[in-house]
């Protein structure tokens, strides 16, 4: 249960804070050139959210097993933080997209 969850951090979706900020900046910078950058970024983030939900479910089911409560709490908190990061970046991207689409021509 716990190893499965920690392997989540190896997935491209599970972003650490500085990495995510860098990725978001790249996505915004690339948006001028190609229209697909926003779509791509959103796809990635929604995949991250799915992964993290699965991680949380795994941690909760770990409560029934032999995992110590500290480990379960720790993995849920990790999942929660990654989820919050992903959601914050998604919101930021959506608002950037809207800013561009509402731009006066």
């Amino acid at each position: 249960m716990i190893p499965a969850l920690s392997s989540l951090s190896l997935l491209p979706g599970a972003l650490s804070l500085p990495q995510a900020a860098g990725a978001a900046a790249q996505a915004v910078a690339a948006a001028g050139g190609s229209g697909g950058a926003f779509d791509h970024m959103l796809d990635q983030i929604s995949a991250a959210i799915d992964n993290l939900k699965a991680g949380e479910a795994a941690a909760i089911s770990g409560l029934e097993g032999r995992a110590p409560v500290q480990a379960v709490v720790e993995s849920i908190m990790t999942a929660e933080r990654s989820l919050q990061t992903a959601v914050a970046i998604r919101d930021k991207l959506v608002s950037a997209y809207q800013t561009i689409s509402q731009m006066a021509i």
Binding site: S16, L17, A21, P68, Q70, E74, M77, Q84, A88
Partner: protein, 140 residues
């Protein structure tokens, strides 16, 4: 590699696990403070000790703490004269465990304080990371 705040949470988490293991050892010692040997003249329960060591976690790039060893205290047993006890030897002496309840209580308190300190680290790191994330959320 890893986010320093996430690493702090992981380190403090290892502290929580270690201190709860220590609490378990104290609980065993306290519960067995009167456990005599099974046969007449046999050795009673020996007090358990716990030691910790720091280990480098490759993934987090940080020094975590782990239980090094759960050993036995070799101090002499307490001997009392109680001829009626099933564990009494031929002269009527019974060996009682070398557990000092006062010392166990002190150990218990220390484990408790250390656990609280680690919890506080987790709370602070979590708080800081969500505050940092709020920068992204509220700035519009």
């Amino acid at each position: 590699m890893i986010d320093p705040l996430a690493a702090s949470i992981k380190i403090a988490g290892s502290g929580l696990e270690v201190q709860s293991a220590r609490l378990r050892v104290v609980a065993e010692n306290l519960a067995n403070a009167q456990s005599t040997g099974a046969a007449p003249g046999a050795d009673p329960y020996m007090r358990k000790t716990i030691t910790f060591e720091s280990t480098l976690d490759e993934l987090a790039g940080a020094e975590l703490v782990h239980v090094k060893n759960i050993g036995r205290d070799s101090r002499p047993f307490r001997i009392e004269h109680d001829p009626g006890s099933p564990a009494a030897d031929s002269k009527g002496f019974v060996k009682y465990p070398n557990v000092d309840t006062i010392m166990e209580m002190a150990d218990l308190r220390e484990a408790n304080r250390s656990y609280e300190a680690n919890l506080q680290v987790i709370k602070q790191a979590n708080n800081l990371s969500s505050m940092t994330l709020d920068l992204l959320r509220n700035a519009s």
